[in-house]
Amino acid sequence: MRAQLDTGKSPAVNKIVATVSEAVADIFDGAVVGIGGFGAAGTPYRLILALAERKVKELTVVATSPRQFEFLIQSGSVRKAITPFARYADPSVPNPLREPYLKGEIEVEVLPIGNLVERLRAAAAGIPAFYCPVGIDTVVAEGKEKRAFGEQECILEHALPLDFALIKGHKGDRLGNLIYRMTARCHNPVMAMAARVTIAEVDEIIEVGELNPEAIITPGIFVHKVVKAEKPPLDWVYKGVVQKARKT
């Protein structure tokens, strides 16, 4: 027998919202907000800007690098940053986190990317904590419970649940099924899984059934809102020019 697609019976669910402002309207002061993307690729810039415009306060932001959430630093929305690149990989590029960190305005937790994403996965999977060998003998291990397995010392890493995830998909449908484009996939699927509320900015909204079921990367269960947004201007993507976009 052959499986057949019954076109008449897709669930009457609609997660599509009209605007990015509407999509971020529920994010509250003090929330833990994960931001997908690695560098510029996969970063939901339109959602980040919409959130910065709301002037929410005291956020804990979880993201790969400060380049991605510079809008939120400028709007004074960040109390704590959890990030593997607490500065740009190239140390000669100005770092928007440095001054607020030195003034004590933003607390910074710097950690290995692998530990970060596995902490997100643990939160997504209902695992409260796990032992990890990465970071032993380094500042990452400071203050953490340690245990040896055979010869290997490990640190206890705790799950990192998110209140909200802002992610960037390529195509999405009203059920929240998503696919990504090339390296813009990166942290987006795990951020989506780790959050109570996941908001996806996509290049294109398509009809239910159009995505090849074998190719769906993030199934709709992990996604709560889908909004179509224009791709960011290329100059936001490059270092330094994010500042130019802000002034206008």
Binding site: G114, V140, R185
Partner: protein, 217 residues
């Protein structure tokens, strides 16, 4: 300082790579090794891509196709994309044959310090700790001395560590050193560079290999 230009350091490092190897090139100088890797080497980047080609030209550039250093890269047949969990399973889980990393300091016993510079308030750990722990072989490439002319190869790292005892090979602007149980073994010298000169700019005492030779490219 005398010694190799950065491109030649990368060219020498690329000679360590063989077809069929799965290799991660760390952010900074190592990403440029991609321009010299022999055909058949399969490059991995922690932002979720395996089997990509050289750094893209301006015409080829697509900003959603980048390496972990946010440099635009190119597509090759057989390339695959995956999300971060899988990318770090490949790294932490000992699936990569080689990682080539940059560094600020490396110690006599292979300790690596490459995420925070001297006097820096904040650093960039990125994927360096995951790679340092998980790749089967760690090759470090760097200028032999730091920007103040001080040795990068030291008795003990004074900068915050990335990982302890993980480095296997150091390829610098002056030489190739293998980290062995007995200590640092000087295996190759850059053209025109003497053993004494390398020793002067290296804190630990070097063991001179019986097969010491000039670097070939």
């Amino acid at each position: 300082m005398e010694g190799l230009a950065k491109d030649l350091i990368c060219l020498r490092a690329a000679k360590e790579l063989k077809p069929g190897m799965y290799v991660n090139l760390g952010i900074g100088l190592p990403t440029q090794v991609a321009n010299f890797t022999p055909q058949g080497v399969i490059l991995h980047s922690e932002n979720g891509v395996l089997g990509f080609g050289p750094i893209a030209s301006e015409e080829q550039m697509d900003w959603e196709l980048v390496n972990a250093g946010a440099q635009p890269i190119t597509l090759l047949p057989g390339i695959s994309f995956f999300h971060s969990i899988d990318a770090f399973v490949m790294m932490r889980g000992r699936h990569l044959d080689v990682a080539i990393l940059g560094t600020y300091q490396v110690s006599e016993t292979g300790d690596l310090a490459n995420w925070r510079m001297e006097g820096e308030a904040l650093g960039a750990i990125g994927g360096s700790m995951d790679l340092a722990y998980g790749a089967k072989r760690i090759i470090v490439i760097c200028e032999h001395t730091d920007r103040n002319g001080k040795p990068r190869i030291v008795m003990q790292c004074t900068l915050p560590l990335t990982a302890k005892g993980v480095v296997n090979t150091i390829i610098t602007s002056l030489c190739v050193i293998e980290i062995t149980k007995k200590g640092l073994e000087l295996r190759e010298l850059a053209p025109g560079i003497s053993t004494d000169y390398v020793q002067q700019l290296t804190e630990p005492k070097l063991i001179i290999s019986q097969d010491l030779k000039e670097m070939e490219f």
